[in-house]
C-alpha cells in the first residue's frame, strides 16, 4: 500500500481534492459537517499521511528548523538541543541538527544545506562573531535566524544569551565572601566574548572586595579538561592560592585532577567554582559549586523566538540570568589560615 495521496482520498470519498485539502487544513468554513466527517473517516481508514514536501512547496513553509551547534558531544549542548527539540516538536516543527566544530567553512556549508532543504529558520550557536560569509549568507538568504549562547549581543540580531558578566561576578563574589584572597582563574580562549565577560565580572567582584589578582594568576585555558589539568597542575606547583574559578565545568574537572595529584584537598585547601552546571558535575566528589545556566530553557526559548520571527513578529535579544549553585567544592577560609 504505497502512500496514498489527497487524490485517492478524494476519489474514495467522492469529493474534490479541494474539499479534502480543506478538511486537511482544518479550515472551519467551506465544508459541511457531513462531508468533513466523511472525509475524515476515509483518511482514518486508510491512515492517510499528507506529504509535507508537497505542502511546503506551495506554502513556502517546510515546517523544518535547523540547529547549528559547535559539537553536540560537548556536554553543554545536549541540554540546549533537547530544549530546542521539545519546543519545536510542540509547535509541530522538526529539527535538523548540524555540528560545525566552530569552523566557518562547515558553518557556511550547513547554512547552505539548510537553505536548500528550505528550513523555515535556523538557530545558530556559532563561533563568537559570525564569519563574514555566514553573516552575508544569513542576511542575503533572509532565512529567519536566532543566535544562541554565543554571538553579538550588542548587535541588532535577535538571540538568546546569558549575562556572562554577572555570572563571573557571582563566582568572584562567592569566593571573596568566603574570605579568600589568593585566587586564580582559568579561562577559555581569550578571543571569545563570553570568556571576556565572565572574566570582567569576576574581576569586578575581586575589586569590590579589594582583592588583587596578578596577571599570572589568570590562566588562559581552552575550555577542555586535559589542558586545564596540565595548566593548573603547573600553576599550583609554583603558586599558592586558596581558590580557583574555572570558566566552565569541564575545566573545573581538570582542576580537580590536578589538585588530586598534588594531594591538595578540595575544599579544605582549595575552593573551586565552575561555570555552566552541566549534568556531570554532581558526579564529582566533592560536588562542584558552579554558576548555573538554564541551558534547557535557553534552547526552548530560542525556538520560541525563532518561530515568532518566522511568523512575522520581530524579537530582540533575550538575556538569561545565571544563578550560583553552592555545593561542596567551596569553603569559608579559616581565620589566620591565610597564606
Amino acid at each position: 500500500m504505497g502512500n496514498l495521496t489527497i487524490k485517492d482520498i478524494a476519489r474514495k470519498t467522492g469529493v474534490s481534492i479541494t474539499t479534502v485539502s480543506r478538511v486537511l487544513n482544518k479550515k472551519e468554513e467551506g465544508v459541511s459537517e457531513k462531508t468533513r466527517e466523511k472525509v475524515l473517516r476515509v483518511m482514518e481508514e486508510v491512515n492517510y499521511q499528507p506529504n509535507q514536501l508537497a505542502r511546503g512547496l506551495v506554502t513556502k513553509r517546510s515546517k523544518m528548523l535547523g540547529l547549528i551547534v559547535p559539537n553536540i558531544s560537548n556536554p553543554f549542548f545536549p541540554e540546549l538541543c533537547r530544549g530546542a527539540e521539545d519546543e519545536a516538536n510542540l509547535r509541530q516543527y522538526s529539527l535538523i541538527i548540524c555540528n560545525s566544530d566552530d569552523k566557518s567553512e562547515k558553518e557556511k556549508n550547513y547554512l547552505r544545506l539548510l537553505e536548500e532543504q528550505q528550513v523555515d529558520g535556523v538557530l545558530l550557536s556559532s563561533k563568537d562573531r559570525l564569519s563574514k560569509s555566514s553573516k552575508a549568507k544569513l542576511q542575503r538568504g533572509k532565512v529567519p535566524f536566532v543566535l544562541l549562547d554565543r554571538g553579538e549581543e550588542a548587535s541588532n540580531l535577535s538571540g538568546v544569551f546569558l549575562d556572562n558578566e554577572k555570572g563571573g561576578y557571582m563566582a568572584g563574589k562567592h569566593i571573596t565572601d568566603l574570605g579568600h584572597r589568593h585566587i586564580a582563574c582559568i579561562t577559555g580562549p581569550s578571543e571569545i566574548r563570553n570568556v571576556q565577560r565572565r572574566l570582567k565580572g569576576f574581576q569586578r567582584a575581586l575589586n569590590e572586595a579589594s582583592v588583587e589578582i596578578p596577571e599570572s594568576f589568570i590562566i588562559t585555558g581552552d575550555f577542555k579538561m586535559e589542558s586545564a589539568y596540565q595548566l593548573t597542575k603547573k600553576f599550583l606547583m609554583e603558586n599558592n592560592v586558596t581558590a580557583i574559578f574555572a570558566c566552565n565545568d569541564v575545566m573545573a574537572c581538570g582542576v580537580y585532577q590536578a589538585a588530586h595529584e598534588l594531594g591538595i584537598q578540595i575544599p579544605e585547601q582549595l575552593s573551586i567554582v565552575g561555570f555552566d552546571d552541566i549534568p556531570l558535575v554532581t558526579a564529582l566528589i566533592p560536588k562542584l559549586t558552579t554558576v548555573r545556566q538554564e541551558t534547557y530553557e535557553m534552547g526552548r526559548r530560542a525556538i520560541e523566538l525563532l518561530i515568532n520571527e518566522i511568523e512575522g513578529e520581530t524579537s530582540e535579544a533575550v538575556v538569561f540570568e545565571p544563578t550560583l549553585i553552592v555545593r561542596e567544592s567551596t569553603r569559608q577560609m579559616e581565620r589566620g589560615k591565610d597564606l
Copy 2:
C-alpha cells in the same frame, strides 16, 4: 533578491530549464561543454540554490534522515548522534533528531512526523522491543530503518548492536582475574535485553572463576546516578564486597558517591567497573575502569547501513565488540586480605 529558480537560470542563460536541470544533476551526457559552462557560470553568479523540496517531490528522495533516541541529554547518546550526523552529512543527507523518552506514544508520533516529512529512512534507538504500533508503522510505511544499540538482534531487522554478553563477561573476568571473590553488580531495568545480556556474560565469567554471587548481590538499578547512589549505599552498609560492576557509567558515578560517603576507598577497598565509557568518566577520581562501546563509530555505521538500505541493498545486523579499558578504579586483591 528572493530565491532564484531553475527558470531564472534558464532565462539568464538563454537555454531551457531542462538543460539547466541536466547540468544541475551533473548528467554527463546531453549537454555540450559550452552550454554547461555557461549555465554553471550563471548559477555561480547569482548563487543559485536548488530547492530540495521540489526535487524531493519528484524524485521521492528528500535527502533527510530521522534519528530517534530516548534522550539526547543522556550522555550516551550525543556521541552516537555525532557519529550519525557526520556520516549523514558526508553523504549529503540532513539528520532530524527526535527524543522519544522511551515512550511508545512519542515514538509513534515521531515516526509519523518523519514519514510526513518524507525522510528517506530512520535510525531508531528505541525501547527494547519495538512497540506493536511502531513496528506496524515501520513495516507498513516501508520507510527503510535501522535499529541502533537496542532492539531485537535475533530478528531479521537490520541494525547496529554491541555484543553485550561479551561486555559483561569482560567486566566479570577482569574482576575475578584481579582475585576478587566477593562481588556485587548493579544493573539497569531487568526487562531491558542489553541488561540481561550484560548480566549473563558477567555471571558466566564469575562461574568460570568459581565465584558464587548470591541473588541479593545483584541490585536492580535504573541506569541513573541518584538511585544507584541510594541503592549502593544501602547495600554497602549491609554487605561486604570488594568489587562492584555497574551496568553503565552513570550508575558507576553513584557508586563512587556511596563509597565516598561511607569512607570506602576506591580502589583500595573497592574496585569498580563501569560500562559504556562515556566521556565524563575520565573526570572521575580515580578514573573509571570500564567496558567501552565505540559509540561514535556505531552511529556512523548505522547511517551507512541505512543509506545502503535506501539504495536498495539489504543489510543485516552489525555487532560491535566491546573493549575493556583499565584505568584506576580496579585493583588486584592483596593476598590474605579477602574478607
